[in-house]
């Protein structure tokens, strides 16, 4: 019997092809929008998250309490090697790396007649091995260009301003941790383009060992970056790190607190997801309710006949509802297929929305991070499933009332109409 009901329902959908196609189109378009937009946003936010929790901020940051405000040389975390070992011993910690940030003046190392034009710069002393890994500041740098000893990497913008290139000498003039003069000559091992403003604009990236020698700060660092296994667990990780005895005086921040605006934007995404889900709901509800209603009214005579012949009212209800569910499922399937195809294609080609808006910029700078304008949508099956569920539920709900109307008809009156 069920099979017959489904068959009849399917045939009924073909009776008014234009109306069915319109309803299908509305549902399919809703689902397509849901899948594509949400997957595009997933891609965009994923990228943002990778930039944010990747090299610059990490999952958890540790500083001396006042460092973020004052950035003074002497606000350091001491006994760093011991602290690092303690953090690495925590469960779920994947990488720990320490950094030194020292403001200096930089000048070309070539001797000139006139005094050098010095540019303000920042020596960033880093743990080269850690920073060269996937989440690090130096990811992607040629292995032979990585900072080592007196060889340093120079940010692209700074290099241009100083008029120096790879292989040349660089003079660094700064102050050690006590303010006494600290000067030295370095070889430019490479020029670095980075998503981090501070690196590109002012960075002199140096191995942390020579940086500590130059600035007289053995076993001290300004910043420790910790990567756990999952950025979503950053808060838990931060709490564990806070308990460590060597960090009683330190400020331990999960990335969400380092860039609260970005974190809020990313949290807002789940609300935006809901908005699109609601659009699908409404499109499906309107399309299905309309179709079911119209076809029920059109078939008053027919339903009357069926009832008069002894068809159970339950079966009429089932027929109308199945009709709607089929309509909804076909629509949502169409939308899912087209949407998924679009996502898969664009995830390979990328969507440059700056170009769409007529701009030739390729990244947006935010909080010292360069976030690419090119989005690679990321397929997430949950958006398809959510859409299918939404449509199924709506089609049942939206067709119940017309179905009940049909089932409650008085056969004689209905046949007369």
């Amino acid at each position: 019997m069920r099979h017959t009901t489904a068959h009849i329902a399917w045939r009924n959908l073909g009776r008014n092809k234009r109306r069915t196609l319109l309803a299908l189109g509305a549902i399919a378009l809703g689902q397509l929008t849901l899948v594509f937009v949400n997957c595009m946003m997933a891609g965009s936010y994923g990228q943002m998250l990778r930039t944010v929790t990747g090299p610059l901020i990490g999952h958890v940051q540790i500083h001396q309490r006042d460092w973020r405000e004052e950035r003074a040389m002497d606000l350091t975390i001491d006994h760093v090697s011991q602290v690092e070992a303690e953090i690495l011993a925590l469960p779920d910690v994947q990488a720990v790396s320490s950094r030194i940030y020292a403001p200096v003046l930089a000048a070309s190392g070539q001797k000139t007649e006139e005094p050098a034009d010095a540019e303000p710069a920042v020596v960033i002393g880093v743990n080269v091995a850690a920073e060269a890994s996937e989440n690090g500041m130096l990811y992607g740098v040629e292995p032979n260009e990585l900072p080592q000893g007196q060889s340093v990497l120079l940010g692209r913008v700074l290099a241009n301003r100083l008029g120096v290139e790879k292989g040349r000498q660089l003079a660094v003039i700064g102050q050690d941790i006590d303010g006494f003069p600290a000067t030295n000559l370095y070889t430019i091992g490479g020029i670095i383009d980075s998503g981090l403003d501070i690196v590109s604009n002012r960075g002199i990236v140096m191995a942390i060992g020579p940086a500590r020698t130059l600035f007289a700060m053995p076993d001290r660092a300004h910043e420790i970056i910790v990567h756990g296994s999952d950025y979503r667990q950053a808060e838990t990780l931060a709490q564990q790190i806070e308990q460590l005895p060597g960090l009683a005086d330190a400020e331990v921040l999960p990335w969400r607190q380092v860039v609260p605006e970005l974190a809020r934007m990313i949290e807002m995404k789940s609300w935006i997801d809901l908005v699109f889900l609601a659009i699908v709901f409404i499109a499906a509800a309107a399309g299905i309710a309309n179709t079911a209603m119209m076809s029920t009214f059109e078939r008053t005579h027919e339903f009357g006949m069926l009832l008069a012949l002894g068809t159970a009212p339950r079966r009429i209800v089932a027929m109308v509802i199945v009709e709607s569910v089929i309509l909804g499922l076909v629509g949502v399937a169409l939308g899912s297929v087209v949407g998924t195809t679009l996502v898969v294609v664009t995830s390979h080609t990328g969507i440059n929305y700056a170009a769409l808006a007529g701009s030739d910029a390729d990244a947006i700078a935010y909080a010292g991070l360069n976030i690419s304008y090119v989005i690679h949508p990321q397929f997430e099956v949950r958006h398809v499933i959510l859409g299918v569920m939404a449509v199924t539920i709506t089609s049942v709900l939206a067709s119940t009332w017309p179905a009940l109307l049909g089932a409650r008809l008085e056969p004689v009156e209905a046949m007369r109409s």
């Binding site: 940030y101 050098a116 010095a118 303000p120 303010g179 006494f180 000067t183 030295n184 002012r202």
Partner: protein
Amino acid sequence: MESIVRYPMVAALAAAMALSLLCGIPALGQDEGGTPSARAGETPATPFIKDGKVDVNAVVDHFENLYRADSSISTAQLTVTKPNRTKTMTLKSWTHGEEKALIVIQSPPREEGIATLMVEDNLWNYFPRIDRTIRIPPSMMQSSWMGTDFTNDDLVRETSFKEDYTYELVERTADPNGWLVRFIAKPATVGVWERFDLIVTPDARLPIEAKYFDRRDRHARTLYWDQVKVFDGRRIPSHMTLIPQDEDKEGHKTEMDYLDIDFNADVPERMFSLSELEQKH
């Protein structure tokens, strides 16, 4: 990553004093060290005391002229104390007029040969280790000079007691024994100090201490002068101490001890050039 440099508490007037002392200019008391030190409460007879009170105009004139000097060559020991570290440097300085000075660090080895040239408002540092001369950019003027509690700005800023400040005699002080003269910056004066309280010796010839207040009227630094010695026939304090009052500068101190000052030495003007700067090490 803006303003990575934490600017130390700035200094304008201490500047002039620091520089003058650094360069051995002060000619406080030209009377060849003959003045007996006054006992507390006693008012000695000097050209600066009128009717038992300091003639503040005469004193300020006198102080103003301290900084009008010819040339000099001096050697000083600079001791910089930080909470966990003390560094002593020996400096040799040459001056010519008010606006030209050359300072070369002679020891310790790590700083040996580092030299600073001042010509008017410009400041250059020469670093032998990298064999480069760097002009100090305006953005670095409030940074420490060679790790001391003086700023680069202190070295080059010219301040005139008479033109930049209004002043008044406040009172006779007991501890330390002397006269308190208060200087208040005129509204048009550009600088970091709102006012400073200078205490001079009872004979008003030598400074004892000065408290500097910044534009928010916070006590920011104190300078002390003591250990009066005779250099080249002039009686001047040979030891000066600068203590920053900043909370985060606790345990910081810069002291200067004059070892030798040769007033009116023959210092040719050509010494104060960039090429000389690089050869002086």
